[in-house]
Symmetry: C2
Subunit: 247 residues, 2 copies
DNA sequence: GTTCAATGTTAGTCTTGCCGAACTTGGATG
DNA sequence: CATCCAAGTTCGGCAAGACTAACATTGAAC
């Protein structure tokens, strides 16, 4: 049951496979896994085979990769570790939200279960990390709020930022500068299909801001009807289901 | 210069070789190194050869092992990491002093230089770890106080506890129970050579306590004349030199 | 001064994680 | 429906770190 008998690399694979389907439904591929792990596809193929032999995922050659319940449990454990550590670094050691990901990526494999529980306690059992991502509870329940990417939000609507991908630190610094952080409220003015930009205004500000495709797919916002001015997707918040957005 | 380009195992070897001569002058052997690393002597032989090839230590076959300046710098860096982490775990996360060693042993390889500096700052640049061991400064200066093992202290004298070896957690718990911690003052009553026990009284208490050889070699006390009633070793505190005790 | 046991070294093997090169597969394209 | 190519797989090899078994050295005891 404890995650500790897996190698660091196995822990990273499971976490990566799990998070790949946290905010999207497109299945993870060997190539994407290789890019994200910083290794060659042949290495991923080998590793996947070993994880399959350990009963942590299912995979037929050239087929899709899917976690077993056991693999998923380990993955959720790693996600919990990662996000608690990120939160700890920001809250206790004064890190910026753009600095914590890489540090947590290493620490998540090194801290003991005891230390994770002490951190959780010290922070008062936080439910979201500095990027707005939900922190699974100790019993392995992830609580996924319904959300869509900013670039897919309906104009004109008023939405709340749910989470921001922590993949690009430079982008996170830009977002801090303009005040675009989790829980920020903003108005979607326009989606320009050909230039692929989204025009928004942060609530309390006058200035319009244009976000390119990279930025508007990194930011996820509420899908609920609350605060909306026009009708758009009527997607009910859920803790387990998928949220799908109309193109 | 950064320690990070060494493997975890190389970092542990260097740290172990360095700490072996921190409180004693007897040179480290392959067998002792193997015991402390939890590996076979043949493994140590191989590893030592690699570290020698990297210019981190000197070693002729069947000869003594000694760190080069480069090896020593890495070792001191690791000792600083280890002791800062131990201090952090006690001060911030509420660990007991008997719980921190194993956690720090893993973490020391995982935290970044940045995190170490932030921890140092957060703690206000502490100079001693929870076991009384000196924390080398960032520029690599270890400050070694003169100290001798409790079992070698002259009766009858009054001494202060300088440091206690953190090797045995159960022993540390016993020491907490009786109030024997760094900076505690105590009176040495008797050294019994054949039963190998030391009789002490903690200041503020009446009760005599008998400590066996394991306990009285784990505890190191002041060598200075301060507080002494009889004359004993006249060893002046120093930051760089060796302290030698008369047998 | 020999002897011999403890200490240390060497050689061969395993596992993990990675690589490049060569091969296989399957779906998109015409 | 045949082709082709990107995606995925297999294979051999390498380095690190560990082991066991066999061999070498040292120095303490006699
Ligand atoms: Mn990781
Ligand atoms: Mn995060
Ligand atoms: Mn260590
Ligand atoms: Mn310590």
């Amino acid at each position: 049951m404890p995650v500790s008998d897996l190698t660091n690399s196995a822990q990273d694979y499971l976490k990566l496979i799990w998070t790949a389907t946290e905010w999207s439904t497109t299945p993870i591929t060997v190539t994407v896994l290789a890019e994200r792990m910083g290794v060659r596809p042949s290495t991923v193929s080998d590793s996947i085979k070993k994880l399959k032999d350990q009963g942590l995922l299912t995979h037929a050659p050239y087929g899709t990769i899917e976690l077993t319940p056991a693999g998923s449990a380990h993955a959720v454990d790693m996600v919990r570790r990662h996000r608690l550590l990120e939160t700890f670094l920001v809250q206790v050691l004064g890190y910026g939200w753009d600095e914590v990901h890489d540090e947590a990526e290493v620490l998540e494999h090194a801290v003991s279960d005891t230390m994770i529980e002490r951190i959780d306690q010290h922070l008062g059992h936080p439910t979201r990390d500095p990027h707005g991502d939900p922190i699974p509870s100790a019993d392995g329940q992830p609580h996924r709020p319904g959300a869509i990417q900013l670039g897919h939000a309906e104009p004109i609507s008023e939405v709340t930022v749910v989470r921001i991908s922590d993949a690009d630190p430079a982008m996170l610094r830009y977002f801090s500068d303009i005040g675009l952080t989790p829980d920020a409220q903003l108005t979607i003015h326009q989606q320009r299909p050909y230039t692929d930009t989204t025009t928004i205004t942060l609530s309390g500000q006058q200035k319009n801001i244009d976000l390119g495709p990279a930025a508007s797919s990194a930011v996820w916002v509420t899908t609920s009807l609350i605060n909306s001015r026009h009708g758009q997707e009527h997607i009910v918040e859920t803790t387990t289901g998928e949220s799908s957005a109309r193109k």
